[in-house]
Symmetry: D2
Subunit: 304 residues, 4 copies
């Protein structure tokens, strides 16, 4: 086993020197106020070892990273029926774009862009008895930590300013690809995005994708084949219109969020989570991308 702690320390020290740390998301005040100097990395290996550096125990808004967990829950509930309502192809376009959705008759390109994630939310709203409570409990189970919670201020702010998501949801509704009322689905969606975790909690939450569908508590949530699919989608669609770049530079399935978090994983080996709130022009964490590129370069551990 490589000396992971030493590697993380080196990467951290180098990355923190970067003169340009990107720009913190500013569309809602709760994100705009985050200190750009936060930076943490956490690694959890399949053997159960944990390594961390910097702010890896501070809570941050996971935002779009939640889309992978929602997809996983939806697959657990309805299996392959998910794919009747959403495709699995990269979007090749920025994450808010409605164009493709309209051209392709209301079938979102994949479940990790906003419109696709809204369809997944609709599935969860249909299938869960108490959608918000049940989904939160699912996350708490994965993380094995009941302190994980929604940030109600964030959810409220997203709702008050999320006009593009309202546009997407209404467009889906016009194509009959939304079964529940727009308000109800988006309320769930905005809450899902508002979940807060630390780097180490996120590493735990994603552990099932590196462990054949079996979570920390040793419960099998999804099968081998489903894990393979979710990892494939993360690789091809997890980074907005920078998915190719991430596959190319880092070479791991992963997912980013505008809160500045990134989770990536190597099946049967490890989950690694970074958090630095400064984003590059494509909306992905600048230091996070850098750190992960360095990690796979230094360890020579990638899927390619």
């Amino acid at each position: 086993m490589p000396d992971y702690q030493a590697i993380l320390n080196t990467i951290y020290s180098e990355a923190i020197q970067a003169s340009d740390k990107g720009i913190v998301a500013s569309y809602i005040p709760e994100l705009a106020h985050i200190d750009i100097n936060n930076f943490g990395i956490h690694l959890r290996t399949s053997e159960g070892k944990n390594f961390g550096v910097g702010d890896y125990n501070k809570l941050f808004s996971i935002q779009s990273i939640s889309k992978v967990l929602a997809l996983s829950k939806a697959m657990e509930l309805v299996g392959e029926a998910v794919w009747d309502r959403v495709d699995v192809e990269p979007s090749g376009n920025p994450f808010n774009f409605l164009t493709l959705l309209e051209v392709e008759n209301g079938i979102p390109r994949n479940p990790l862009i906003n419109s696709g994630a809204i369809v997944i939310s609709d599935i969860l709203v249909s299938k869960l008895k108490n959608p918000k409570d049940d989904f939160l409990n699912y996350i708490r189970d994965l993380v094995n930590d009941n302190s994980v919670n929604y940030n109600m201020d964030v959810a409220q702010s997203e709702k008050a300013t999320g006009f593009k998501n309202y546009a997407a949801a209404n467009l889906l509704k016009s194509f009959k690809n939304l079964n529940n009322p727009v308000e109800e689905v988006l309320d769930f969606y905005f809450h899902q995005c508002s979940i807060e975790m630390t780097c180490s909690q996120l590493s735990n939450a994603f552990y099932l994708f590196a462990n054949n569908g079996c979570c920390l508590r040793n419960k099998l949530h999804i099968n081998d084949r489903q894990v393979k699919r979710i990892n494939a989608i993360m690789l091809t669609c997890g980074f907005y219109d920078e998915a190719g770049e991430f596959a190319f530079e880092v070479g791991l399935p992963g997912k980013s969020g505008v809160g500045g978090g990134i989770v990536a994983l190597l099946p049967d080996k490890f989950v690694i989570t970074t958090w630095s709130p400064g984003l590059n022009v494509k909306g992905n964490s600048k230091l996070g991308m850098l750190a992960l590129e360095q990690f796979t370069t230094k360890t020579k551990l990638s899927i390619f």
Copy 2:
């Protein structure tokens, strides 16, 4: 003066023989139930003569034809400031398409497509004291008939199914091109579209565009230059993605609605209104297009 009555009679008799009368709009029950055999034509000359044939005194839903009247009122209220928020170019795309709106940063292509008309509604909601009452009174003034009214069932049905318009309004809001709440603007917009008139009432309502801005009651609403602009926009943008075809076949400024109505006019000469609820694939009245093409061919009266 040509023998207009004889010409209308001939056109009517020929058109009514058409084996294919198009398809009645079916997205709301109030439109779906209209008898496809309704067909009326009305002509009002600048000298004040009136000619009619068929069902020219039956009420129908004017739908998108209302967009021209709303634009006219908005220009009366804010003048050229309208053009800060909406462009004047043909859309080159079907009438519900959100794509261009997104590509062009929330500035609708023109005020006669749905997104543009929603911006115009927003202006009216901002400027009118009691928007729905005041706009209705404006129309009644133009028509010189206080019986003109909204159809509340139509407005309600549009609201319950108008997800694409909700999508457009939210997209406009995301680009900060909607000042009032989405619900309030769309409530006004759906009412505006629900107005019912007869062919002869519509000819009267549009009289000001053939009469230098002066309505039937001899009140000057807009100036020469504004009339010229509204007529230009009708010509280039009045028929969804069939504007070129209409200019080409008919050669008059005009506007159609999915209720099956079409109004067209020759400045200083006449206003002509047709109604036949069967639509062609582009959403314009099939017999109406045919009748107007025949009218300008037989009379040699067009702008070209």
Copy 3:
């Protein structure tokens, strides 16, 4: 009759003061070297009166203006069959865009965008015995002046740099909407665009569109209905993605070229030609647009 000469003089004097005269096209040296201070206006009335001011007797490259004359000749030769291969709708996009062409399976939006004009060239190459000679003679006939000619240097430069036109022609070929070899069609097309005329010659050339299809030499080339169609297409499609703006500001059918020329006309009344080589950002002559807007405002003569 208004005092046209006085009006032209006033417009000329005012326009020439403009601090911003636009930018001369620079993609080929022959155009780049034109003095931006050239400016001429010529008016020919249906009664045969001529009025001119400034450089209205200097030759310039008519460029895209030739597309209207090529369309006219094609309609003379094959009639309505033209419309099997090209549509009549505004493009709603910049003049070089291949996107719509691809989306719409090789049917150009209209005959006044490059791809549509290339299809018209293909028709002329098929139907004319000696395409380049015959077309030139057609133009000379219209103008009633045998001195009109191609500019071989311009044709050659267009050919050497016209990669987007080669792209469009090959795309048309891939959709089987080009019958002759790409090289042959484009050779004709580049020559057609290289024709040079003065403002007064262009007013003469376009006289048939204001005179029911009958040219200066009193020969009937196309019928009433065809004239109406060509004028409609000029109005809706004659100014790249500024067609709506031109209809709105000027209110006449017309066509511009990157050489800085604009021809516009009012049926049965007049043809007016302007030339000023500085272009606005949409590729239309800046002073020309200004002068024509002033002309229809001052004379109140427009189609609307």
Copy 4:
């Protein structure tokens, strides 16, 4: 080690039963005449073991599979400078689409779509002394077999019908992203696509991508980092607009061609090649996709 021969035999026997074998590409006669019943699979492990079933020793046209080999050679010659002229993002659109190329100013989305491969051809034409000879020798070296050759009839047919590629090359030229003449670049490109190999030769040719850049003859062509990048691009962009589906179903980097071949690989483990000329609607070999999905399912060997 799994019993690969048995697994291949099973997959072959099952796949050959498929009632729908897709449709053989018919745009050139040389491909149209291929018997749809051809079907071969070949596997080469990193240890140098070879396994084959069916027609794995018959020559077929590798077509777009050649794009990966051309990219590899270009990276060997100019390194990261490749990425100044072509991006690494999935296209999200069918393989011939010019739209994105135009919208994105002549920078192709990735080197495995036609426009991107034409840019790579341009690089090779610039850097190789005798481009066609040198490239062929490079392939022969990789395969360790001097019998590999171009099919001149195929190259000629592609040239005579490849109008979309001419359109793309001219569009690239208009954006100054092609340094050599269109004819010269496309002549090279069409030859490259015409190369014929057997399944086992292709497995050999791609061996360097599973072996850290070192070919069969033990020559290091590209470094670790470059291999990782090429594999990432194959995964995200190797299957036209079905890349996500392939990643999702198969989970290996790979590349398909319209000749019906597919090569895929697992780094440090194996290269597998299938050939069945019947294509699905997305242009990928129907039985090939099926066989590879079965292979990774049965062996549980994928990157995810």
